[in-house]
Amino acid sequence: MKLNRTKSFGTALLAGAMAITLAACASNDAPAATPDTGSTSDSTSATQEPTSEEATVTLSGTLTGAGASSQEKAMGGWIAGFGDLHPDVLLSYDPIGSGGGREQFIAGATLFAGSDAALKPEEVEAATQRCFGGEPLQLPLYISPIAVIYNLPDLEVEHLQLTAETLAKIFNREITSWDDPAIAAENPGVELPATGIIPVNRSDESGTTENFTEWLAAASNGAWPHEPSGDWPLSGGQSGAQTQGMIDTVSGAVGAIGYADASRAGDLGTVAVGVGDEFVPYSAEAAAAVVDASPAAEGASDKQLTIELDRATTASGAYPVVLISYSIACSVYDNAEDAEKVKAFLSYVASEEGQQRAADPSVAGSAPISGELRTAVEAAIDSISVG
């Protein structure tokens, strides 16, 4: 029965060729920015039995978002809080990653997106098309300090003090032992163990890595020779997938050092990083300080509140290792229901209550946005209209 194996190649190829027409259709999976109005309204009409008759105040239906997993824990808090305000709205957020989130938003699959990076110029263009001609909103609603974490359980000080230059050398594997003179010089009076340093990085491409390497490149006086990138530039070392993988790996070996969302540091030690002449441990206030001190990014507008973080800042009390994750939405939706729901949700997230909920250390430990930024954000949210 299986004597003529060689023939099966040809047969299969033939079969494949026959199916080409079928699959050629199947391949257009990313519909290039053609907002299918029918399907968008589809998702909204897909309510689970609208119990109460729609009195314009009670919102109902589905509200879907997707994107960065960095926002996932904060989003858990927001979904719960928003659910208290509008129990009839079925709000969901798929943490599929920033890239996937932007792509799905542009394809019209979701009403909002979460992204660790601002939209690229060509994405802004596509998003404008998806938003029925309206400019996309980009709101910095999740600001989170990134902690440099280490596993040295016998160390007596609360925070090890390290400058960006020393950290760059550690992560570039030039400094390989914890009792290196460079580390000792920055930590007078601290008894450092002779343990080897195990640098740990994120194995997946991530906004955390991008922000961390951006800071290393900007603040280390050239000690970090690599380009800032979402993917770790060195290979052949320990690494972990996603934040939890990073935490597990650093926790798994004494002497390990890594970087992660500060709220996840847990029992691990965290570094006070050198800013100017002082050493600043992470805190929500210190992270908010650097955001306030930073200028708007190129291409920013009153709807796209993108920020160019001033990584090399020497401002007193600022903590420059910060991740900003944007909430991306449309300024124009094609029906009132969508517009109202997005407006209500983003208003809640930007409100003091929403920001405080995410700032709770047991939720996401993020830095609440300042009053000034909130005013700008609220103005942008108010501009959401029906087109």
């Binding site: 029965m1 299986k2 004597l3 194996r5 299969a12 079969a15 494949g16 026959m18 199916a19 080409i20 079928l22 699959a23 050629a24 199947a26 391949s27 999976d29 997993s69 599929i96 990653g97 920033s98 890239g99 996937g100 932007r102 792509e103 195990i198 194995s203 997946d204 491409e205 991530s206 990138s229 979402g230 993917d231 290979s235 052949g236 070392g237 320990q238 690494s239 972990g240 997938a241 993988g245 597990d248 790996t249 798994g252 070996a253 004494v254 390990a256």
Partner: protein, 328 residues
């Protein structure tokens, strides 16, 4: 197969022949043959569609200029082949290590259950193995990441310090997130699968063959060697391939226990040397868009080729020894 008429290509329509009286036998035969035939065609179409979908999706990466590919942040190779190569190597290495550990042990377990353990115990054990085979892979991932890595640390420290002069065991670095750990997790994961199928096959050995061997004065082991193993050979190879397929394609468990790296390296205990295709796709996919998705799917195509080659070889081996197969 010599008896029975070749199937008439009947369209898979009409109700199932519920009536089994003599008159409807011809009808029943037609419907049944048609259903089988139709399922075959359906599978062919669906699977071909998947395959072509992948080729079409991967095409931009296959035809892209290297300078375009360099725009992708994690793409550091000279060419697509240079990127896929280490991934293929890592995938095959991890899966083969896992298979090398799992197959002998599973044959042992299967034989223990089918021919050594007391009958009552054997039934319980058989059930246990079936249960273990049914444990979902995300559980193995959790187990590997949160428990096994800690347990393997002293073992690998010892291995590296006493046998470190052999290059493959050199350079261990804690925590134990290296390819050997990944292979152990994969081995444990495929062990019950191979065992479950192998046991089922061993139990099917014709009783007459076994008793004939024993009657000729064979010891239990000789009986197994001459009657059970040859009969079960094709089934065991098939089972091993099923396990290998799962090991090659496993995503989460590998993602959670391996510090990846893209090198052709035989340092089994060093971190950051190897990565498997499936885990790489899962790790890089969330942030990927456009061309980088195509590159990832192109690596998926490479996995297809590996799987095909492996299965091709296995089928060739089985075909050569199909004298014992029932329906040939």
């Amino acid at each position: 197969m010599t008896v029975g008429t070749p199937p008439a290509p009947v369209a898979a329509a009409g109700p199932r022949a519920a009536d089994r009286r003599t008159g409807s036998h011809v009808w029943g035969g037609r419907v049944f043959a048609g259903l089988s035939y139709g399922s075959g065609i359906l599978i062919l179409l669906v699977l071909a569609a998947v395959a072509v979908f992948l080729v079409v999706q991967a095409l931009p990466a296959l035809t892209a200029d290297p300078t375009e590919l360099e725009q992708i942040s994690w793409f550091r190779a000279e060419s697509l082949l240079g990127y896929v190569g280490p991934l293929v190597f890592g995938t095959v290495l991890a899966a083969l290590l896992a298979l090398a550990m799992a197959v002998p042990v599973s044959i042992g377990i299967a034989l223990f259950i089918s021919h050594y353990a007391p009958r009552r115990l054997a039934q319980g054990l058989g059930y246990l193995v079936d249960l273990l085979a049914a444990i979902p892979s995300v559980v193995y991932g959790l187990w590997g990441a949160l428990w096994l890595i800690g347990v393997l640390d002293p073992v690998m420290t010892w291995l590296s310090s006493t046998l470190g002069f052999i290059p493959i065991f050199a350079g261990y670095q804690a925590p134990a997130k290296n390819v050997l750990t990944a292979a152990v997790v994969l081995a444990v994961m495929i062990l019950p699968i191979i065992t479950a199928v192998a046991r089922e096959v061993f139990l099917q050995t014709p009783r007459l063959h076994e008793e004939a061997a024993l009657a000729l004065g064979a010891t239990r082991w000789e009986m197994i060697r001459t009657a059970v193993l040859p009969f079960g050979r094709s089934g065991v190879i098939s089972a091993a391939m099923l396990g290998l397929g799962r090991a090659l394609g496993e995503t989460m468990a590998v993602l959670m226990v391996l510090s990846p790296g893209l090198l052709f390296s035989f340092f089994l205990l060093k971190p950051g040397q190897h990565q498997t295709i499936a885990a790489n796709i899962a790790a890089q996919f969330p942030e990927a868009a456009g061309l980088s998705v195509s590159v990832l799917i192109a690596t998926g195509l490479a996995l297809f080729v590996i799987t095909f080659v492996v299965n091709f070889v296995a089928r060739a081996i089985v075909a050569r020894r199909k004298d014992f197969s029932g329906a040939n």
